[in-house]
Amino acid sequence: MVAAAFRVVADAGASVEVLKVSHRFDLHGKPLPVLEDVSFRVEPGGFVALLGPSGCGKSTLLRLVAGLEPPSRGALSANDAPIDGPDPSRVLMFQDPTLYPWRTVRNNAALGLEARGLKHSHSPRVDKALRLVGLTNFADAYPHQLSGGMAQRAALARALVNDPELLLLDEPLGKLDSMTRITMQGELVSLWERSGFTALLVTHDVEEALFMAQRVIVLSDRPARVRADVPVDLPYPRHRGHSRLADLRREVLRLLGLDGTW
């Protein structure tokens, strides 16, 4: 059990299949289509970035994959089993940190373990995760004592503690300063390489998507459709100045309708 909890092998990731998924919300009594016939597959241990304009439905898509809501139409599965509810093997790191203000950073990070009754047997994992995100000295601080970026790092630690098979990251580095951001991008990639989970990353940042992911799925405006699926055929560790990244960046910006602006 304990050995399984500290997997370092690369087969720990789950596969994800999104099949013809459409989703609509009710906004003031009118249907608001958010996702339109979205399909893609992520192989076990893969790292895929979702890129799209603001409000197109990226967070909604992650919520569906996490099992927090059922899709209006279509099917989602993980490891070829249908996703019909949340599961601790698929952890979503939300766009807002949503830390519990009444818990210290350490106890926030321990939330998943506590929810599954593993708090005492697995407590070293909490310290490990806090060390990873550089919050060891703030373990006993309350969320209102953290900066925005620190809160986001605490939320990342809270997700990592669960040792997920599938990590759903909703703009996890959005609130960090550019220097911490660059460091954390590298950290996340090496963490992913070491732990072998499957990663689905939502981001606004084209460079970030290209630097981190093996594939970048470009979504259209709302309702979101898959506009392109761009493989990033570069080995890790990547070099930010690589000319191939610059080419891919131009291509992705063009797909987003931004060719003239860069």
Binding site: P88, P101, N162
Partner: protein, 342 residues
């Protein structure tokens, strides 16, 4: 909340008065407020001691001694800081202006009642009259406080517990909410004292009837505010826990309730206030013990000094209990500091 706020602003106001003149607090600086307080307390003591009473009061000398004692304490504090350079304790400095005012009020009160009887006699009791109640009738007062506290504690605990559980249930379960909401809307706003005739008739003893009424008065605000606290919990908190595999009971106990706790405490505070008023009414109407009964009894004998003494004790009891509740809240909601300023 309002209470804590006003308390604090009063405190800071007092402090600024006290601090303003001697803020530098250099070695040997005179604590002017302290000197004034000492002077007026000693003056009040002299008035009590040397101006003859209009009537024969038993405790005039004791009153004068107490006043003189307080005066001497202020003399020591003020002179001590003058000559030794030790600043008077922060606490003394902050209450100094209040003690000064208190001495003035007592001296005037003493003059108006015991010394010259300028106010209608039996109704306006003299300070030494109140003091006499405390020295001579304290066993009965202590017993009354004990009875009141016991009755209040029983009713309040039951009401708070029921209100809390009901509030959580209504806030959490749509089905419970469906059935409980109309009942709560109909019964809740009714003052608990409206049940008084029925309660005293339906319950076997006046004690159990009063416990019921106090519980009822407490339960309503606690229920409503617990419910609203649970209902307004950020939905995202549940999503966070659910995505990590939390069970329903975890969501209730570890997410909903802690998140609702600030609101629950507002309910507990309002419930406590409501329970005080029901307690007094119940004790005046039927229970043959407690401070309410003591006041009723004193009024029957036109023993106004006893009435005021009981009123004072009741005020101290109520404010003490509210303070206790706030202490508990500050301890449980320590994480809130910095979000909400008192």
């Amino acid at each position: 909340m309002f209470l804590a706020k006003s308390q604090q602003s009063a405190e800071t106001a007092g402090q600024s008065i006290a601090d303003a003149p001697e803020m530098p607090a250099a070695r040997g600086a005179t604590w002017i407020t302290g000197v004034w307080a000492a002077g007026v307390w000693l003056l009040a003591a002299a008035i009590s001691r040397f101006i003859p009473d209009i009537d024969d009061f038993e405790r005039t000398n004791l009153l004068a001694d107490i006043m003189a004692g307080i005066g001497v304490v202020f003399v020591i504090l003020a002179l001590g800081s003058r000559f030794s350079g030790v600043r008077p304790p922060e606490r003394a400095r902050s209450v100094g202006p209040w003690f000064l005012l208190l001495a003035v009020v007592l001296a005037v009160w003493e003059l108006l009642t015991a010394k010259f009887a300028l106010l209608p006699r039996p109704f306006f009791a003299a300070p030494q009259g109140l003091l006499e109640v405390f020295t001579d009738d304290y066993p009965r007062l202590v017993e009354s406080v004990w009875h009141s506290l016991r009755l209040l504690a029983g009713g309040y605990a039951i009401g708070a517990a029921i209100g809390f559980v009901a509030g959580v249930a209504i806030g959490w379960s749509r089905r419970v909410g469906y059935w409980a909401h109309p009942v709560l809307r109909l019964i809740g706003p009714l003052p608990a004292t409206a049940w008084l005739p029925i309660a005293f008739f339906a319950f076997p003893s006046s004690h159990s009837a009063s416990t019921f009424l106090i519980a009822l008065a407490t339960a309503f605000p606690v229920t409503v505010l617990t419910w609203s606290g649970i209902a307004s919990v950020n939905r995202a908190y549940y999503d966070v826990a659910r995505t990590m595999g939390a069970s329903q009971s975890f969501l209730v106990l570890k997410v909903a309730i802690p998140a609702a706790l600030p609101s629950v405490f507002v309910g507990l505070f309002m419930g406590l206030g409501a329970s005080f008023s029901v307690l007094v009414v119940a004790e005046m109407m039927g229970v043959k013990a407690g401070l309410g009964w003591y006041m009723q009894w004193a009024q029957g004998w036109a023993a106004y000094a006893n009435m005021y003494a009981a009123l004072l004790v009741m005020a101290l009891m109520c404010t003490g209990l509210i303070t206790l509740l706030f202490r508990l809240r500050d301890r449980l909601l320590a994480w809130q500091k910095g979000i909400v300023q008192w």
